[in-house]
């Protein structure tokens, strides 16, 4: 979504980025994109919930739910830390945006760097969680092994697909953050900077929000 249009500005030099709705074009586009992405994650999360409900019903029928519930794999401590990291990164993002609007570039760089570091830690944390789950027996396969017992279930497949695509979105967000960081450093005087920061911030908050959804629906409930 890094496309910028300046095609519309008149030779009269009217404000180029604000169109007939009075909104920045890129912001409008990004909002529509977020609408689309919402459906994307809804479908992934729904798939996971459907198959988890099925596994649960099967385990309940065989009286093994308490023992073999695949949720036992999900370490709540690590993911709570990850959720906290991501939520904190939303806060630093807000502070970075405020600093960019106030043109306090020193502060801005600090908060944006903090966001980048927090975002990267989340990705690394997730990579660690994935390798840990693999070692424990939850794999990208239609069965998992828990305490020596093999259970036919799509839990691993749906879980890794869903969280993997979320992780991919976070990774792209980090790359975008880094790009904005360098752009602002190179062109500190550009009046577009606050909008550039606002856009990446919007995307970042969305990705955070998706994690809040996944964390609540998959880990907590």
């Amino acid at each position: 979504m890094s496309a910028t249009s300046h095609a519309h500005h008149d030779e009269a030099g009217q404000a180029p980025l604000v169109g007939s709705l009075g909104v920045d074009s890129r912001k409008l586009g990004l909002w529509a994109f977020i609408g689309s992405e919402t459906l994307f994650f809804t479908a992934l999360i729904t798939t996971h919930l459907i198959f988890y409900a099925r596994t649960k019903a099967e385990l309940t029928a065989s009286g093994m739910l308490a023992h073999l519930d695949p949720k036992h794999f999900l370490g709540i401590n690590l993911t709570s830390v990850l959720a906290a990291i991501l939520l904190a990164s939303s806060l630093t993002m807000v502070l970075a945006l405020a600093a960019s609007k106030a043109k306090e570039w020193q502060k801005f760089r600090f908060w944006l760097l903090a966001t980048i570091i927090l975002g990267s830690s989340f990705v690394l944390g997730q990579a660690y969680e994935f390798s840990h789950l693999y070692a424990e027996g939850l794999k990208l396969a239609p069965q998992f092994v828990y305490e020596g017992e093999t259970v036919k279930s799509l839990f691993g497949v749906t879980f890794f697909t869903m969280t993997g695509f979320h992780g991919l979105h976070v990774t792209l967000g980090v790359i975008w953050l880094i790009a904005v960081y360098f752009k602002v450093r190179k062109f500190p005087a550009s009046p577009e900077n606050p909008m550039d920061v606002e856009l990446v911030g919007l995307y970042w908050h969305f990705v955070d929000l998706v994690w809040v959804g996944i964390f609540t629906l998959i880990y907590l409930i």
Binding site: M1, S2, A3, T4, S5, H6, A7, H8, H9, D10, E11, P16, G19, S20, L21, V23, S25, R26, L28, G29, A32, F33, G35, S36, E37, L39, F40, T42, A43, L44, T47, I50, F51, R54, K139, L140, A141, P142, Q143, K152, S153, L154, V157, T158, T161, F165, A179, K183, F187, A189, S190, P191, E192
Partner: protein, 647 residues
């Protein structure tokens, strides 16, 4: 009322072929008009490929127990025919015409995101080429365009065909979503002063509605096909009941996208019809708001009718009743449009140009397709008609009789604007009648053989079922249909060279694109027009006949100009348009190469070398994408007024 023929120094695509073809200005273009033309030309090429596939199938079915095609080849052909016509023909043709016309209609100089627009076209082409590559690499997709699970699992479809299908359509899907976002922002944010939402041309309206449908419908398809790819390549079992998956989940994900897709195919064409009918009746559209809001209504309702494709799968009578009721409700806004179109012509001065004939043909055929759809919305009747040739008849009346006849109307209507030449009207009318008649000869008998129990997607049938004669007639009709397409190609080629030169406004039309020279200069409008009615050009031409056409208080007097002095035109060189850039193309190329790698990433075809090569493709693709993004950023800085490199 003299409409001055104005010469502007623009390169006409039609005349540019003198001398060497300016490849650079096309391949690196970000001009919505050139991108539109690339869309249209490539969609037409795919149209012919899809048509050839259809003809091969019709030859096979022309006689019982025919052995012209093997079962497997037939299955590949019907899969690719549908995939091509839906994703590589009608959708991109709509996008192409929209790309060309929408910015002109709303008084904009380009789309909101010109480079993203360029990425969409190359990504679409990459996806299309990837799909067609499958014919040369061990077999095209053969699981049907609906790709029902679990037939598309790797044990039942072991060739790479379905992998090509998933990744090829994945690429065109990204192109569609990017294009839709572009349309949404363009329409909402790039309108000329005074072009309020309720003054937008109906074609613009329908493009806006369709863009919203695309961004909300495509994600479930993307998720479904990602999950299918995981099933086939990475050890998933989402849709494999033998391993705990669910075959019905695929159908829900697919049709949640698949039914809105039908409206993605038809609504822009309805928008075209809503432009063409008023112009050639010399009247405004009857009931602008009804037509616009019925489009919005169809867009919304389109999302709650998906399971009427699944009445036979045992969802239970309550669910069937709900989806049946919703499907019947959606017929109402559709019917309203037809009545409004007829009323638009009523008491008009109906000029039967080729474009108008096609528009009327569209309505006429769409009536049949709409009526035959009613029985399919009734679950009990549907259980006899679904998966039979009756459905094949119905969908072709809607998609060929509807979308494609409407697209021909649009082609004859806007060809002069796009090329600066008129298409030959006499040849056009001959083509229209041949196409209309042969279309009915081809597809009407399918209602009958369907009712006589002929299932669809069968590669052959036995003699003596009462289907032989009708199938033979259908096959004969196909050849005439193909002949009419050849006439069209001849008309286009000869008109490009010798056709009558088109004036700014050859049809006495009403909307802004006809205020410009044909073809328009790269910057479109010398001065951005100021609009204060729904028909800015018409009202400028017929100030006393305008009637009550001013919706909302006009903020400023209308400033719609279609004549410019030479001094003014000379000032055009100061209009800054985005620079040429190859980055969108490199990015799309990178994604296509990476997608090709994903087709083979987990295939045991030649063992390790295949996987290494596949991994290599993915890496090359990622590197290309990275290079392209960097280039994209650098190129976009050239056009920024703030980043120092602007001159």
């Amino acid at each position: 009322m003299a409409i001055a023929e104005h010469k502007l120094t623009s390169v006409s695509p039609a005349t540019a072929s003198s001398g060497s073809f300016p490849w650079r200005t096309w391949l690196a273009t970000v001009d919505h008009k050139k991108i539109g033309i690339i869309y249209i030309v490539s969609a037409f090429v795919f149209f012919m490929l899809g048509g050839i596939e259809a003809m091969l199938m019709r030859v096979q079915l022309g006689a019982p127990n025919n052995t012209f095609l093997s079962a497997d080849v037939y299955n590949q052909l019907f899969t690719m025919h549908a995939t091509t016509m839906i994703f590589l023909m009608v959708m991109p043709m709509n996008v192409g015409i929209g790309n060309y016309v929408v910015p002109l209609m709303i008084g904009a100089r380009d789309m909101a995101f010109p480079r993203l627009n360029a990425m969409s076209i190359w990504l679409f082409l990459g996806g299309g080429l990837l799909l067609y590559m499958s014919f040369l690499t061990g077999g095209a997709p053969n699981g049907g365009w609906f790709a029902y699970a679990p037939l598309t699992q790797v044990q039942y479809s072991p060739t790479s065909g379905m992998d090509y299908w998933i990744l090829g359509l994945g690429l065109t899907g990204i192109a569609s979503i990017a294009g839709a976002l572009n349309f949404i922002v363009t329409v909402l944010n790039m309108r000329a002063p005074g072009m309020s939402i309720n003054r937008m041309p109906l074609f613009v309206w329908m493009n806006l509605v369709v863009s919203f449908i695309i961004i909300f419908a495509f994600p479930t398809f993307t998720v479904g096909s990602i999950e299918l790819l995981f099933d086939r390549q990475f050890g998933g079992a989402f849709f494999n009941p033998a391993q705990g998956g669910d075959a019905m989940l695929w159908q829900h994900l697919f049709w949640f996208f698949g039914h809105p897709e039908v409206y993605i195919l038809i609504l822009p064409v309805m928008g075209m019809i809503s432009e063409i009918l008023p112009v050639f009746s010399r009247k405004p559209i009857f009931g602008y708001s009804f037509v616009a809001f019925s489009g919005v209504g169809i867009g919304f309702l389109g999302f709650i009718v998906w399971a009427h494709h699944m009445f036979g799968v045992g969802m239970g009578p309550m669910a069937n009743a709900f989806f049946a009721a919703a499907s019947m409700v959606i017929a109402i806004p559709t019917g309203v449009k037809i009545f409004n179109w007829i009323a638009t012509m009523w008491a008009g001065d109906v000029r039967l140009t080729t474009a108008m004939l096609y528009a009327i043909g569209f309505i006429s055929m769409f009536i049949i397709g709409g009526i035959s759809g009613i029985t399919l919305a009734s679950p009990p009747i549907d259980l006899q008609q679904t998966d039979s040739y009756y459905v094949v008849a119905h969908l072709h009346y809607v998609l060929f009789g509807g979308s494609i006849l409407g697209l021909f109307a649009g082609a004859y209507y806007w060809f002069p604007k796009m090329t600066g030449r008129m298409l030959n009207e006499r040849i056009g009318k001959i083509q229209f009648w041949i196409m209309l008649i042969s279309f009915n000869v081809t597809f009407f008998p399918m209602h009958i053989v369907g009712t006589e129990g002929m299932p669809r997607r069968i590669y052959t049938y036995e003699a003596g079922m009462g289907w032989d004669l009708w199938n033979f007639i259908e096959t004969v009709g196909t050849f005439f249909l193909a002949f009419s397409i050849l006439i069209f190609i001849y008309n286009v080629l000869s008109s490009l060279r010798n056709g009558e030169v088109a004036s700014n406004d050859p049809w006495d039309a009403a909307t802004l694109e006809w205020t410009m020279p044909s073809p328009p200069p790269s910057y479109n409008f010398l001065h951005i027009p100021i609009v204060n009615s729904r028909r800015p050009l018409w009202d400028a031409k017929y100030p006393h006949a305008a009637g009550d056409d001013h919706h909302g208080a006009s903020s400023a007097p209308s400033q719609v100009r279609y004549e410019y002095t030479d001094e003014e035109t000379a000032g055009a060189k100061d209009i800054h348009m985005p620079s040429l850039t190859f980055s969108p193309m490199i990015l799309s190329g990178g994604l296509t190469i990476a997608a090709l790698g994903f087709v083979y990433i987990n295939k045991d075809i030649l063992g390790l070398p295949t996987r290494v090569a596949a991994l290599g493709f993915i890496l090359i693709g990622i590197v290309m994408v990275a290079i392209a993004i960097r280039g994209w950023i650098v190129d976009s800085r050239k056009d920024s007024p703030y980043l120092g490199q602007h001159h």
